[in-house]
């Protein structure tokens, strides 16, 4: 699985060290710098409503990346994502509420709990594949949600556990802007971890397990180990996302972790494009913003007032339709559209790629 060449033409890797660079060309370095500048200036240019939306996108990106690692890269279908997020959020909530532990303890604790549950979620994967695995993770989702609900009721937190904003380096993370940067950094770190995992032995092992488990076993990959590893890594990242969610929203309540949340995350990786980290990011952006876009579009339609009562039902239905359209007409997802657009500009004025070009 050789690393694909960077897309700008005329660039060749000339030394061994070149193979290991994350950023290979001056052009992409410039683009990255511009991108970072845009990210940093965003909260100062837009109102806090948009900043909050962006923060939600970052949070969703962490969850989407970890699910992509598990499902899109390692090929292990999971429908227990909301359960894992709930586990992370409850870990943070309980540790905060019962033991008043600070941020820098609860987040690693959530990661540990996530890893533990990852092993639990992963054990069935040693025997089950595909749909059956998905169903077993679904069952575990219900069990996690049940336990969370029990805790809430037994301790009398019937409207949820309230959590104080975390204090990082003596600075209280509370404002939208502060959360924007915190979550942006968290998402960037997750992305960095994911990119490097993909370039490592484990990433290659996951891809080969995805492609063909039997062959992977035959060429000496410890399928059991790497499957479990995929679950552990993905689950602990997801649980961290859950803990961040708890702090970000300032509370934890079991109603927030319905099956619909899982569906949204699965929709992210499908709509974004299976098997691609960029796809996970694009999917997170799309699915998070979609309800707002639809709402906005419907409200500019003539006669929107008359629809008022059913407009929300319409939003809901529209989400279903868009998902269907993506699944039917663009199985490659947003990333497929993105690649076509990019190729068009990279290759212009030519229409086809030369042999051996990037897929």
């Amino acid at each position: 699985m050789s690393k694909p060449l960077p897309n700008a033409s005329g660039h060749f890797r000339r030394s061994h060290a070149d193979e290991f660079r994350l950023i290979e060309t001056g052009f992409s370095r410039t683009m990255l710098a511009l991108f970072i500048i845009a990210l940093v200036s965003f909260p100062f240019l837009f109102s806090s409503f948009y900043v909050d939306l962006a923060a939600q996108v970052f949070l969703a990106s962490i969850g989407a990346l970890s699910l992509m690692l598990l499902t899109g890269i390692a090929g292990q279908i999971s429908l227990g994502h909301a359960g894992l997020i709930a586990a992370g959020a409850f870990t943070a909530g309980i540790l905060f509420k019962e033991f008043a532990l600070p941020f820098w303890v609860t987040i690693p604790a959530a990661a540990l709990v996530g890893a533990g549950i990852g092993v639990l979620f992963g054990l069935p994967s040693l025997r089950l594949r595909g749909l059956y695995l998905a169903v077993s993770t679904l069952a575990l989702h219900f069990i996690v949600v049940f336990l969370g609900g029990e805790y809430e009721t037994r301790r009398g937190f019937s409207t949820g556990i309230l959590i104080d904003p975390p204090v990082v380096f003596g600075y209280e993370v509370y404002s939208t802007r502060a959360w924007y940067f915190t979550l942006a950094v968290a998402a960037a770190v997750t992305l960095w971890i994911c990119i490097n995992l993909m370039r490592s032995r484990s990433g290659r092992a996951w891809k080969s397990i995805h492609a063909n488990e039997t062959v992977a076993e035959a060429i000496g990959i410890g399928v059991t180990r790497y499957k479990l590893l995929a679950f552990v890594v993905s689950s602990s990242m997801t649980a961290v996302a859950g803990a961040l969610f708890a702090y970000y929203r300032g509370f934890v309540s079991i109603e927030a972790f319905s099956l619909y949340l899982t569906i949204q995350y699965v929709a992210m990786i499908i709509i974004g494009g299976m098997g691609s980290l960029l796809g996970a990011l694009l999917g997170a952006v799309f699915v998070t913003l979609f309800p707002y876009i639809i709402e906005a579009l419907v409200s500019v339609l003539p006669g929107a007032d008359r629809l008022a009562g059913s407009v929300f039902a319409f939003n809901y239905a529209a989400f279903g339709i868009v998902m269907i359209l993506f699944l039917v007409f663009e199985p490659q997802g947003l990333v497929g559209i993105w690649r076509r657009i990019r190729d068009y500009f990279v290759l212009w004025p030519f229409r086809f790629k030369a042999m051996g070009g990037r897929k």
Partner: protein, 387 residues
């Protein structure tokens, strides 16, 4: 990110386009569970509020200023409720925010509005602890039902009917709010000398309620107190009757109560409620019915009470405010407000500095009278002081 910017600008453009139409209107933002499985509880109330505001505007608004009610769906999801709240506050500059959704959306709504100093009113959603004395300065609640007081009212009614030497069963739904209330009621019943014999907690969607009902029936309960969303209350009751159980059942009169009493037509199915039913046919009820018909509403007029009351409170608050365009001023007006509910409840709704629930909470008990083929008030307004 380019993509985000692009989409954001599209969204921004369309928001501005829609927002530009009423610059000097008094804006009120509502986040509600308008879709999703629990929508049935909240959507009719929101419809009632919408109709009230329409009527208010048709009558000239508040001193000539229109009231713009901005509805946003949160599907009972906290993330969307938070985003809605942010939008109301930063984008629309609302003078008041309303929450008509599941309790999971409370925390983000409270956090956003408190910071901005915008009053938050709960309408049709459960009243949180913070609105009871000593009340949080920023939070208000018009919702009819109130935790603990409901159970007291119901248990007192039962005591009045059958004394305290009875076996009593309880029913709740497997959501924290309902379970908490029923646990509380169980304690109160025991302290009143009643014998709690069964407590059944049903999952939100039980395909068949008979197994739960069997437990209550087998335990020999003579009375049952049920405090849960409507479906769970009435389906447990119907399952009990099918099992041949002949005891009396007391449940909370949610907005479905009126049509359901007629449907169930059982004389020992009592509903404890804080809202008046439309059988009374008060003038205000005729107004609501006319408004619902004119708008072609998909909900029965008798389900709109809760929203209508919220509308009356909003109107009163905006009228009382020295500057209805300023959130702080509206909040101050709400902290000292008396609203005549024209008979929709047992008395006026009174908010004071320390009490944002209401100073007295009144309950009626209804049942179906087979002889008259009509709903009958078994016990007229009984008041409880809220302290």
């Amino acid at each position: 990110m380019k993509k985000i910017c692009m989409i954001a600008s599209i969204v921004a453009a369309s928001f501005h386009a829609s927002g530009a139409m009423a610059e000097d209107a008094l804006k009120i933002g509502l986040t509600g569970a308008l879709t999703g499985p629990v929508a049935g509880t909240y959507a009719p109330a929101v419809e009632g509020l919408r109709l009230y505001v329409d009527a208010l505007n048709a009558g000239g608004g508040i001193n000539g200023a229109m009231v713009e009610l901005i509805l946003q769906d949160d599907g009972a999801e906290p993330s969307r409720a938070a985003a809605n709240a942010k939008r109301f506050i930063t984008q629309d500059n609302v003078v008041m925010m309303i929450n008509a959704s599941l309790s999971s959306t409370f925390a983000p709504s409270i956090a956003e509005t408190s910071r901005a100093g915008v009053p938050l009113m709960f309408a049709a959603s459960a009243c949180p602890q913070e609105v009871f004395p000593p009340a949080n300065a920023n939070l208000f609640c018009t919702t009819a039902f109130g935790a603990k007081y409901d159970s007291h009212a119901a248990l007192q009614f039962i005591e009045g009917q059958a004394g305290s030497d009875i076996k009593i069963g309880f029913q709740a739904m497997a959501i924290p709010l309902s379970r908490g209330e029923i646990d509380y009621a169980e304690g109160v019943a025991a302290s009143m000398g009643m014998t709690p014999v069964a407590k059944e907690i049903t999952p939100p969607p039980a395909p068949d309620y008979s197994p739960f009902a069997s437990n209550i029936s087998d335990a020999g309960a003579e009375w049952v107190w049920s405090w849960a969303p409507w479906g769970a209350q009435v389906k447990t009751f119907e399952a009990l009757r099918r099992l041949g159980w002949s005891g009396s059942y007391v449940a909370y009169a949610h907005l479905e109560a009126e049509s359901e009493l007629a449907r169930v037509h059982d004389e020992t199915f009592y509903l404890v409620g804080a809202n008046a039913l439309f059988t009374e046919n008060l003038p205000v009820m005729q107004t609501i019915t006319a408004a619902a018909q004119a708008a072609g509403s998909s909900y029965a007029a008798n389900q709109l009470t809760e929203g209508w009351i919220a509308g009356m409170v909003i109107e009163a608050a905006l009228k009382a405010a020295s500057d209805p365009g300023d959130a702080g001023s509206v909040r101050d007006a709400m902290s000292n407000l008396t609203v005549d509910l024209q008979g929709l409840r047992g008395g006026p709704l009174v908010w004071t500095e320390t009490n944002h629930f209401r100073t007295t909470q009144s309950y009626r008990v209804y049942r179906w009278n087979a002889a008259n083929n009509a709903i009958e008030t078994v016990q007229d307004w009984t008041s409880f002081d809220v302290e």
